[in-house]
Amino acid sequence: MGVMKLSKTLFQNLFRKPDTKMYPVIQREYTERTKGHIGIDIENCLFCGMCARKCPCHAITVDRNSKTWSISRMQCIMCRCCVGYCPKHCLTMENTYTPPSTTKVVDTFTFVPPPAEEAPAETPAAE
């Protein structure tokens, strides 16, 4: 390597910014398709159990009686099978990661029915 070429490379390396991101000052941007974690819109879930049956690693448990849907975050391999098979399209692949943990986390979502609506007030009789 010639002296000129060497000096050029040396000065470039001395004065340019590092290639790594200055985390945590600069946060990484996730793409739309990034496989972060599985999210559920529990309000729309039928509790049919299709996602649990199609999950290749048995990470999802659905209980129709107690209206709970739970996922073992450590077992999930982000294959998006459940997202594809969900008949109500209430499962989504979110592009953010779940927080790191030291134990095997199981996230449970429970459907809470909305409070029963009060009977509509009687309409005033037309005069």
């Binding site: 390597m1 398709r33 990034t34 290749p56 982000m78 294959c79």
Partner: protein, 362 residues
């Protein structure tokens, strides 16, 4: 004749990303014989076909190897599609070809870095891996994953790419090309690199053919074997020609891989120009056929990989899934190359076949 000494090399060695063990029989500083042994990382993935339905097995096949993961999932899907006589849409085949070539760029850049590391050129290693990050970002943008993609499905692919994404991919790769050329110039011209690579681990054309070498190991010795010359993928339409070097040493194998990076970028650009509109997957339902088998061959970055699937009953479970990976085919050639080399050259020669032990042992 000097006194013979046996030196163990691996399974834990700074130069080896994965565990392989070699017993090196030395006479003074010269290797007389190398006896390889593997089996440190066997996971029994092939046996899992008995427990996983055929559409789910794609995810297991993908996890055979972290570097050529797309190729493995493609190979498995190709084999099952052949078994079930499924015709994959044109667009899906083009998308698979694009992702597979992108995987080759990332695999070769990774390997160039590892090679530089094996002869102690740390900054070159860092530069190669810095370039690889751009390719991984492209993967994340188009598939959602950096290493494990989960986009292959039996019958097609999961995601499409719109025209803007495809154009941006080509633009990014073309933008990278001058930098790749600048880095790869060091592998071609630098005196210290040439001292460590030229004339080291020579494998003759006859030996490469007789020992069944595949991929860049065979092509570096002048054997023009490449599965992309056959009908898999869309390589025939893209006018693919294999890249061959004749010297047969570590430098020739490096040059084959360097030139393949440029070729892959060209192939991606041609595929983007010719990709037709249409479906990206066909629905696949039902059981596997009775008493059928299929053999698929895919050119991975490391060489030809063979996927054999067999079904005996009309269920959703295959009876047998067998993978012959490129490193497995290149091990006899490696043993031949090591005979007569210096002890100090062993790490470079071992890396020159791009060993992937996870693939080999599955």
């Amino acid at each position: 004749m000097g006194k013979r000494t046996v030196i163990p090399f691996g399974p834990q060695h700074p130069v080896l990303p994965e565990p392989v063990h070699l017993d090196l029989v030395l006479e003074d500083e010269t290797v007389v014989e190398a006896i390889p042994s593997i089996g440190f990382i066997h996971r029994g993935l092939e046996k899992l076909v008995e427990l996983r339905e055929y559409p789910e097995m794609v995810f297991v096949a993908e996890r055979i190897c972290g570097i050529c993961s797309f190729g493995h999932s493609w190979g498995y899907c190709h084999a099952v599609e052949g078994l079930m006589n499924i015709e994959v849409p044109e667009r899906a085949e083009y998308l698979r070809t694009i992702w597979h070539e992108l995987g080759r760029v990332h695999s070769h850049l990774l390997w160039l870095g590892l090679l530089a590391d094996s002869f102690g050129f740390e900054s070159l290693f860092m530069q190669c891996w810095r370039l690889r990050e751009t390719v991984l970002d492209l993967f994340e943008k188009t598939t959602g994953g950096r290493v494990i993609f989960s986009v292959s499905r039996v019958g097609g692919v999961l995601y499409d790419m719109d025209a803007d994404t495809l154009a941006e991919m080509v633009r990014t790769l073309r933008g990278m090309e001058p930098e790749i050329r600048r880095i790869c110039q060091v592998f071609a011209d630098d005196a210290s690199v040439r001292n460590r690579l030229c004339g080291v681990g020579v494998l003759s054309k006859e030996d490469a053919y007789a020992l069944g070498a595949v991929g860049p190991t065979a092509r570096g010795s002048g054997v023009a074997i490449d599965m992309r010359m056959t009908c898999h993928g869309k390589y025939q339409e893209l006018g693919f020609e294999p890249i061959v070097e004749t010297a047969g040493d570590c430098w020739a194998r490096t040059q084959v891989r360097v030139r393949e990076i440029y070729q892959s970028i060209d192939l991606i650009e041609k595929a983007v120009e010719r990709i037709p509109e249409g479906e990206i997957a066909v629905p696949v339902k039902g059981n596997l056929p009775e008493n059928a088998c299929f053999l698929a061959r895919v050119e991975q970055p490391r060489g030809e990989a063979v996927y054999y699937v067999k079904s005996s009953k009309a269920t959703k479970f295959l009876e047998r899934f067998r993978v012959r990976t490129p490193t497995c085919a290149n091990l006899p050639a490696l043993v031949k190359m090591l005979g007569g080399c210096d002890l100090a050259d062993v790490p470079v020669i071992v890396l020159s076949i791009d060993p992937c032990i996870s693939c080999t042992e599955r």
